[in-house]
Symmetry: D2
């Protein structure tokens, strides 16, 4: 069987995860790596990858290349996806495509014209717990879903320098939850109310962002989702999901470091939830990239695509507007 020739652009934290997972895939040949940091070359060589470059066009110019995984900084995504599409390479791209709605639409247009498929890296959709919830919801386990509740808190905030260029909490963090709400419900959002505050670190506020937020999403059929976010939960990475419907409720709890219980003389104690997103979502990254490979090999639709990115971006912009104007915002106000 012919192997799929894949290259990776960007060897940061996420790029390395994908590189490692692709390296272990029996149907994949890792054809090359692009990164601007020369140290990444050593990393790639240790994994037996011969081709290394600092130039994206060189990367997609590798003879016989089938696909490229774009894991470089956000501000390169739109440009790289466009170039890969023009070159006819199938694309996996980390979220978001871009923080500008206009730019995202241009990229989607290019993808359409070139008939290149682009999978967007909303990895949580591939988490086995959340997939199970979705599967059960689809099978009607809770009847008609009425309220989706998402708790999504980080163990600690990123550096303020990062926050400044992140697009803010809704485009950087909550966007995963917007996608999850869409994934679980299978519905379009029509209205958004978000309320945020700066309760963790005043510096985040000075950088123009919020660190705590409650968002209510109203779907087209008036069912709702409610999301609570915080940049800092001292007890770890808090990632929970509830779906309440006419026939019942589904709950996905956090994943914990350990599951032991210690009964002492003053309390029962147990381990905290996993602290790091790469531990918590390790399986999701593996399943995600395998899904991409499978979609390319089989020539089927991508499980998450650019349009999913666009929809969540629009919700994020509405949420942002909602907090600035302290009012409910209709999605129709965002669409150009």
């Amino acid at each position: 069987m012919k192997k799929l020739k894949i290259a990776i652009a960007g060897l940061g934290r996420i790029g390395k995860i994908h590189l490692k997972n692709l390296a272990g895939h029996s149907q994949v040949e890792l054809a090359g790596v692009m990164d601007i940091d020369a140290n990444s070359k050593i990393y790639a060589e240790e994994l037996g990858i011969g081709f290394f470059t600092g130039n994206f066009d060189d990367l997609i110019g590798i003879p016989g290349l089938d696909a490229v995984a774009i894991c470089s900084p956000t501000d390169t995504h739109a440009e790289f996806v466009t170039r890969a599409a023009m070159a006819g390479k199938q694309v996996f791209c980390e979220k978001p495509l871009d923080l500008s709605l206009k730019r995202v639409k241009e990229v989607l247009r290019t993808l359409e014209e070139t008939k290149v498929k682009c999978m967007l890296g909303f990895n949580r959709r591939f988490d086995p717990e959340f997939r199970k919830i979705r599967e059960l919801v689809s099978e009607g386990a809770v009847g008609d879903p009425q309220v989706i509740k998402i708790t999504s808190r980080d163990p600690g905030p990123p550096p303020v320098s990062y926050i400044r260029s992140s697009g803010g909490i809704f485009l950087d963090m909550t966007i995963h939850d917007f996608d999850m709400a869409r994934y679980i419900s299978g519905k379009q959002v029509k209205e958004v109310f978000s309320r945020g505050a700066t309760l963790v670190d005043a510096e985040i506020g000075k950088a123009g962002d919020l660190d705590t937020a409650i968002t209510t999403l109203i779907f087209e059929d008036n069912t709702m989702a409610v999301i609570d976010n915080c940049r800092k939960a001292v007890y770890g990475y808090d990632q929970r999901l509830e779906v309440f419907g006419s026939k019942g409720m589904l709950m996905a709890d956090n994943k914990f470091k350990d599951y032991y219980r210690l009964y002492g003389d003053s309390a029962v104690t147990g381990s905290l939830p996993m602290n790091f997103f790469m531990d918590r979502y390790a399986e999701s990254y593996m399943i995600e990239i395998n899904s991409f490979v499978k979609s390319v090999v089989d020539g089927t639709e991508m499980p998450v695509d650019g349009n999913d990115g666009l929809q969540s971006l629009v919700i994020g912009l509405a949420a942002k507007k909602s907090t600035f104007e302290n009012r409910l915002v209709k999605i129709s106000e965002i669409h150009l």
Copy 2:
């Protein structure tokens, strides 16, 4: 020791709970019962209570009466509290004092002028689980509380006829959660955003009410509470509470009928949460009325008073306005 002479007005579901709990109280002498239903007389007699009347003034006219518990329909509360206060009897009154803000304020004025204390029946404050949460929050277990999450769903909706005169979901049902948010946080609410829908029963909508709602409360210091309500949860009475703060999170889960686990050949199963509010909150009613007795005997402040009722009513009116106008409402818009 001299016993406290207490009479009860209204022998409906709640009146009977209080009657039974007062009957077992060693410091209380049940002096009489008022009800418009003659069958209640038999009920009272079986408990050895000699005095029965259909007239409130006769009830509070019992010689030597110290206090009265008002458990009659909502539209009698303001009138009865006023008369009891004028007669110098200490009052326990089921919530709400009244659905009209103006009327509540009049009653509070009367209470102030007569120096009579009135305890309001927000029974959930006396639930041992929620009290434990509050105690731990007060001790700083979660640091500064940032987000309070309340899940409050009924096992099934009341008759539409009841809903019509109930004041609507926010004044009838969520008002308990508004009080809980105030009780746990110890803070004043400044803004409210509620979004509701009619997803359970279209008849509820025709009656001008909602059956599902998500409410965001913003406290004076920008910390928040989020409440989700539904009139119908097929799995029982869903009453949960979370407090998230700078140093951790506290969770109070539901109380279940049983706690066994059955490992079968296709699933692990367990019992549902308790279904009926009188089972779920049985202890809270007992502790509540004992607290009332203790406050009267000791001459101390009531643990929940008319002003607490007023505050929650105002929040409820703001929530109602928020859903009608589909916008965030400031509490200052409600105060006359």
Copy 3:
């Protein structure tokens, strides 16, 4: 309706529980109390009981008395049950009837001759959790039960003086678990292997007893039960039950003081199991005495009777013999 006239002999810890529960029973008239401690008289008077005596015959001589609850020290049980039976009074007796097998058999003979029914106070059979387990087992939820596992640990040992006259851990403590094994399985035990140790307090060993023990019971059909006991669990009163069978497993966990969870910066913590048997088994005592009243009123068989006490005593003697001789003991070795 005529009320059942019941008297109580012995107002220690357990006597007071039964007194309080009977006092609140609508079908019961508390006719009198016997105790050798004059302070108990005050206690009885406060509950409005007019008749107080230090003499058992006076107690059962109360005109029109229907039944007597014997809660006096163990060494009076056989004598009092016998006298009550001779006087034709229905009997509730705290376990055990006696520590001597011969004496127990004599009492059973008397009960048979006098046609008086005697309910034995194995209160745990009336615990709602354990009842639910038994009900589910009876309905076939686990198929054919194969292994019953009982964990039964006290929060702390009784005084060594008490231990000395208690009959030892198997007759004093494990006897409840022997009864539970019989109750859940509905089968007779044929062989016993117990192994004990003195790991908590050497003084207990000097008093001729053990404080830690593992017991394997083999039922007539070769299915088994395993019981582990300890006189001291620092985390509270550990009372768990598992039933493993051909179609599944049932587990009853401990009951906890509170069910909150606190997620802090180093661990998740929660409250310990209830510490005191009177808290843990409060409901069981209530249901137990109600069952006794109901059996007397209805004239039906007692739910636990003297023969149940005899069977558990025999198992206890076999367990004791097993530890002394460090070998498996057949029940047939114990029967005279």
Copy 4:
């Protein structure tokens, strides 16, 4: 860095796990595979392993070979370990070394004489949950351990043909639990009482074996362990551990397929424990073989060695004798 050259003898279920894990190890060069089934050659080739043989001596004759992993059938273990030791190759061997005590001792003598180290495949020691329990016990979290409780039930029995040559339930299945009891306690067993039955399948009884057993182990200091086994638990692979001590209790629960909870209209349901040992213990196999590689590379002692295998075999033989003779058996009765 020079890689460790390792070969694998036997490509059955377990052999394939080790092969896959070793293939992903950056410090290992997979030098060759031995198996009597020619199909295994294809399997090995797909993983890029060039050397394949049906002969063990050829395997260990690979030039520069450092170590060999023996995953062939039990009756070849002793012979292969001996030959590998004579050839100076470090050995990883699946448990047991042999079912004959005499033969095991001979192998241990050879290992001692050749100074070759042999790690024995008690994989459960490397399960993260159990390691965490041991670590906490070592740190004194429960004080002095008094009772260890192990529940170990298979989802279903192996074929009767396998059972016939397995050495019986104690040498085939419980031996893992004997090792776990030794691992957690760090103590020697002095006495054993086992009681078994054939409750799952009469054919197992006809094959001379038991399918259900309760075992009490008594350690040298009179503390105890109790193990319950069954060849068939319809709800999956039941692997639990409790350690009860003077300062508390530690519990390790099963690992489940999923952790969601579904609240329906009649029950709360969740997924069953993992069903297959290779899923449940996947991590343990990975950590186990990594530990072997590390010990060989570092030249340190093996974390589990032949003597551990000997000790558990002796306990297993005592357990077997105990069931045959229906009595407690001293370990000293087993030592030649």
